[in-house]
């Protein structure tokens, strides 16, 4: 990406900033504050009331906050995602794959994003994107399956994995909400039909949605008088009259299902017609934004993107993956902003492991250890956390792990206002991910 495009993107980004947020602090836009650097220090200097207001523009009530998890399946090459372009050892280790300093999208004087992630730059500039370097777990396991299992269960021991961290979070939520909140959609996965282990163990399996039509009621072919037929169907299913036991509970759940379908139907009507997103990930995230906008009580959304297992000739394939990722996340943030939900949604982007520092002989990279995760959202405090990869090791080395992934998890569950004791056992340091 050339300088001009970058500049344009920066300008676009500031144009996106809704005026209400800028007005919260007289005389200063949020972007200016962040540009000036330490927002937190500024907060400390502010009168308590004003600081509170400032926080509130970025944050919704905890009960309304939503976590979107984007899983990059296959083991993303972190070093070619967040690039230590000023480090000679990076260039030496990757004679074929290293990106020259002038090509990277600079985040600082020594770190830059892969150019395919240029769409994320405005979010970085606005201070809505955190990069956590070197995330992983002790004694990295290089098996996709095992490593994903560890990320999904938040456990590194050998206990048989029957439940995932989000499944257990859902279980806790359900226990707190009581038995009759039965038809909300608190935890949802989008795209992919397989239940990720992360969501296993929930009292109600997280539904898999492929498109909005999964939540719309289709009348049988040849049914005329559509509206009347729909009404009759609803009446017959939801009326609790003289129903008891299980049937009565299902009637209540049906009632909520009809509401849910109706709200999404109304929302879809409001949606301006236009070019929809074209990639699977962007479509999944667009659907996520619709669910969030419909306020169905959704708290966690799980989305996956495949294609990161880049053992050979990865230059092009990795670039395509990252481009889809960056543009989908940018599109998603834009949608959330337009519908006024950006303050209550945070997105986590992770992969089961990073890849080796040295490229292999096939123009690819092999399974490694630590890697960067991204945390995105209006509530997020932008910047780099963790320690940049130390590339001083010998051949065949890994990006070292400096941050336990469970620290990321518990920081997110804290933000969601959900107790993490069941979902993420053990004592883990919190990261300053949120403003």
């Amino acid at each position: 990406m050339n300088e001009e495009t970058q500049d344009r993107r920066r300008r676009d980004a500031s144009a996106h900033c809704p005026p209400t947020r800028a007005h919260a602090l007289p005389g200063l836009t949020r972007r200016e504050i962040l540009k000036a650097g330490a927002a937190l220090q500024l907060l400390a200097l502010m009168p308590a009331g004003l600081a509170h207001t400032f926080r509130n523009v970025c944050a919704a009530e905890p009960g309304e906050r939503v976590l979107v998890v984007v899983q990059l399946t296959g083991g993303n090459d972190g070093l070619n995602t967040v690039i230590p372009f000023a480090d000679d050892r990076y260039h030496r280790a990757r004679p074929v794959l290293a990106l020259r300093p002038e090509r990277v999208v600079r985040l600082s004087d020594h770190l830059g994003l892969h150019p395919a992630l240029g769409a994320l730059l405005p979010h970085w500039d606005e201070g809505c994107m955190a990069v956590v370097q070197g995330v992983g777990y002790p004694d990295e396991n290089r098996s996709h399956f095992r490593s994903m299992e560890i990320w999904h269960t938040a456990r590194t021991d050998d206990s048989p994995p029957s439940a995932g961290w989000l499944g257990l979070l859902a279980a806790q939520q359900a226990a707190d909400a009581g038995p009759d909140a039965s038809s909300e959609l608190p935890f949802v996965r989008i795209g992919g039909r397989d239940l990720p282990l992360a969501l296993a163990g929930a009292p109600r399996q997280a539904p898999a949605l492929q498109s909005l039509s999964d939540l719309s009621i289709t009348l049988p072919a040849g049914t005329d008088r559509g509206a009347a037929a729909r009404r009759l169907l609803q009446e017959a299913c939801r009326s609790p009259a003289s129903r008891e036991g299980l049937a009565a509970r299902i009637a209540v759940a049906d009632s909520a299902a009809f509401d849910c379908a109706q709200r999404l139907h109304d929302l879809a009507r409001e949606e301006p017609a236009g070019d929809g997103p074209t990639t699977p990930l962007a479509r999944a995230l667009a659907l996520s934004s619709q669910l969030i906008g419909a306020r169905l009580g959704t708290r966690v959304i799980y989305v996956t993107q495949d294609g990161y297992d880049t053992h050979a000739r990865q230059e092009r394939s990795h670039e395509l993956c990252l481009r889809e990722l960056g543009e989908a996340l940018d599109d998603f943030q834009g949608r959330l902003r337009r519908q006024g939900d950006d303050g209550r949604v945070t997105t986590l982007v992770f992969s089961e492991f990073g890849r080796r520092v040295e490229e292999n002989a096939s123009g690819g990279t092999d399974h490694g250890a630590g890697g960067p995760v991204f945390v995105l959202g209006r509530a997020v405090k932008g910047g780099v956390l963790g320690i940049d990869p130390d590339l001083s090791g010998d051949r065949d080395t890994d990006v070292p792990v400096g941050v336990d992934f469970r620290s990321v998890y518990v920081s997110l569950t804290d933000w969601l206002g959900m107790p993490s004791t069941l979902a993420v056992p053990g004592d883990h340091a919190r990261l300053p991910l949120f403003a």
Binding site: S182, D194, Q205, D214, L219, A236, C237
Partner: protein, 436 residues
């Protein structure tokens, strides 16, 4: 009514028509739903004529496959050598739809949830299909024989890390689930039992899709599992499990909760365990006893189970005489939360109300719409419409709900001249239709 069975013995005693309750169309449909997913009007009338004793003997049997159904399977067999997951799903659903005595498929589905293994980790759909073949063949027989085969099943070994269980590095995954989920239940074993049981199974490996006992990786030293000691191997551990009454109660109780109702008293579970153990774990014999019992025909049991997506779809299709596209159905059922060969975890599907949420309820209604359209397109739908495609709602309600719908609903639906498709769509979407 249930209160009248003061003791577990009384609840498990055979149901006597007209003394314990009426033997009517509702009872016949109840039996058909639980043993055969559901049945047509003709099948219901046949069951009614048989009477409860003969009907249970007839339906709770897994007779050799012959006749037209054998030809169906024969026609499918060339597809099965190296199929895709979608194909295996489609073929299994075809079996459920077409088997004239689908008890064996009901049982295979039950065991698939009990020994829940997922293609997600096993990676070979053919290995999963082979495992379910094993469940289908051995499922009706003695539980001990089934258990021995499952412990050697290549898909199970991959699923619970059997190849990682080596003499010097035991892996407890299989041993733990064996004790906790497959046989005994929490509270009936100690951690040390798990540890030593794992060592007993060391060397039970899988290679190229076959079981292989790897003697070099088997730990032949002394162990102590559930009170048995010596240089135990895997079969000794299985025997130790099977002789525990807790095992018969755990598995027998699970069969009861799956096929009869969800809340048996502890005394009833104990009694079921005694009978199961005394029969040498003869599963079909236990099922005959359960299906013929007063507890089964009790009001407490009727419409007391939330149908799984598979049971819902196959039940509706069998009741209405539909032949849905099983390939598409397999995917739909996965979206509804029941991906065959791919249960969510080793605990299987949670079942009950856990099947239902806004998305799956809407999905169930949309499946009902699909079935309604198919029914209207049948050449000879039964029940036949009254005229011009307007439904004989009374006959439909009788067939699907034994005539019982909550107050007013029957009248409200029957008041208009409702087209057949619309009527079927509504009836199959009702909360009552989600219950078996």
């Amino acid at each position: 009514m249930s209160a009248s069975w003061r003791t577990a013995e009384e609840a498990l005693a055979p149901f006597r028509p007209d003394i314990d309750g009426p033997w009517d169309a509702g009872s016949a449909s109840h039996l058909l739903r639980r043993t055969c997913f559901g049945g047509t009007r003709q099948e219901r009338d046949q069951v009614l004529r048989w009477g409860p004793g003969a009907a249970v003997n007839e339906l709770v049997a897994c007779p050799p496959i012959e006749g037209a159904y054998a030809s169906v399977l024969e026609a499918l067999s060339p597809l099965l050598s190296a199929g895709s997951l979608e194909l295996y799903r489609s073929v299994w659903l075809t079996r459920m739809l077409r088997d004239p005595r689908p008890m064996r498929e009901q049982l295979a589905l039950f065991w698939h949830g009990h020994f829940a293994t997922s293609v997600a980790k096993v990676r070979g759909p053919h290995l999963m299909a082979a495992q379910v073949d094993l469940l289908r063949t051995l499922g009706p027989g003695r539980f001990g024989v089934l258990l021995g085969a499952v412990a050697r099943d290549p898909a199970m070994i991959r699923w619970l890390d059997g190849n990682g269980n080596r003499a010097r590095h035991p892996n407890e995954n299989f041993a733990r689930e064996l004790l906790e989920l497959f046989c005994l239940g929490v509270g009936h074993y100690e951690e040390c039992d798990v540890r030593d049981a794992a060592r007993a199974f060391s060397g039970w490996h899988e290679q190229d899709g076959r079981f292989r006992f790897n003697a070099r990786e088997h730990d032949g030293s002394d162990k102590l599992v559930l009170g048995r000691s010596g240089p135990l191997d895997g079969d000794d551990v299985l025997a130790a499990c099977l002789e525990r009454p807790a095992c018969a109660e755990h598995v027998g109780g699970r069969l009861f909760r799956h096929f009869v109702h969800a809340a048996p008293s502890p005394e009833l579970v104990t009694l079921i365990g005694e009978h199961y153990l005394a029969s040498g774990y003869d599963t079909l014999a236990l099922l005959r006893e359960l299906f013929a019992s007063r507890a089964f025909f009790d009001a407490q049991a009727r419409r007391s189970l939330v149908s799984s997506p598979v049971a819902l779809a196959i039940g509706a299709a069998r009741t209405l005489g539909l032949r849905p596209d099983t390939s598409e159905l397999g995917t739909r059922l996965a979206d509804l939360g029941q991906a065959l060969y791919e249960p969510p975890s080793v605990k299987g599907w949670d079942g009950g109300l856990a099947w239902l949420n806004a998305a799956t309820l809407i999905g169930r209604m949309n499946l009902a719409a699909r079935f309604a359209t198919s029914f209207a397109a049948l050449r000879k739908p039964d029940p036949a419409p009254l005229r011009d495609g307007v439904a004989d709602l009374g006959a439909l309600i009788d067939l699907l709900f034994d005539g019982e719908l909550p107050g007013g609903l029957r009248d409200r639906l029957a008041s208009g001249d409702m087209p057949l498709t619309q009527a079927i769509h509504i009836l199959l979407s009702l909360p009552e239709a989600q219950l078996s």
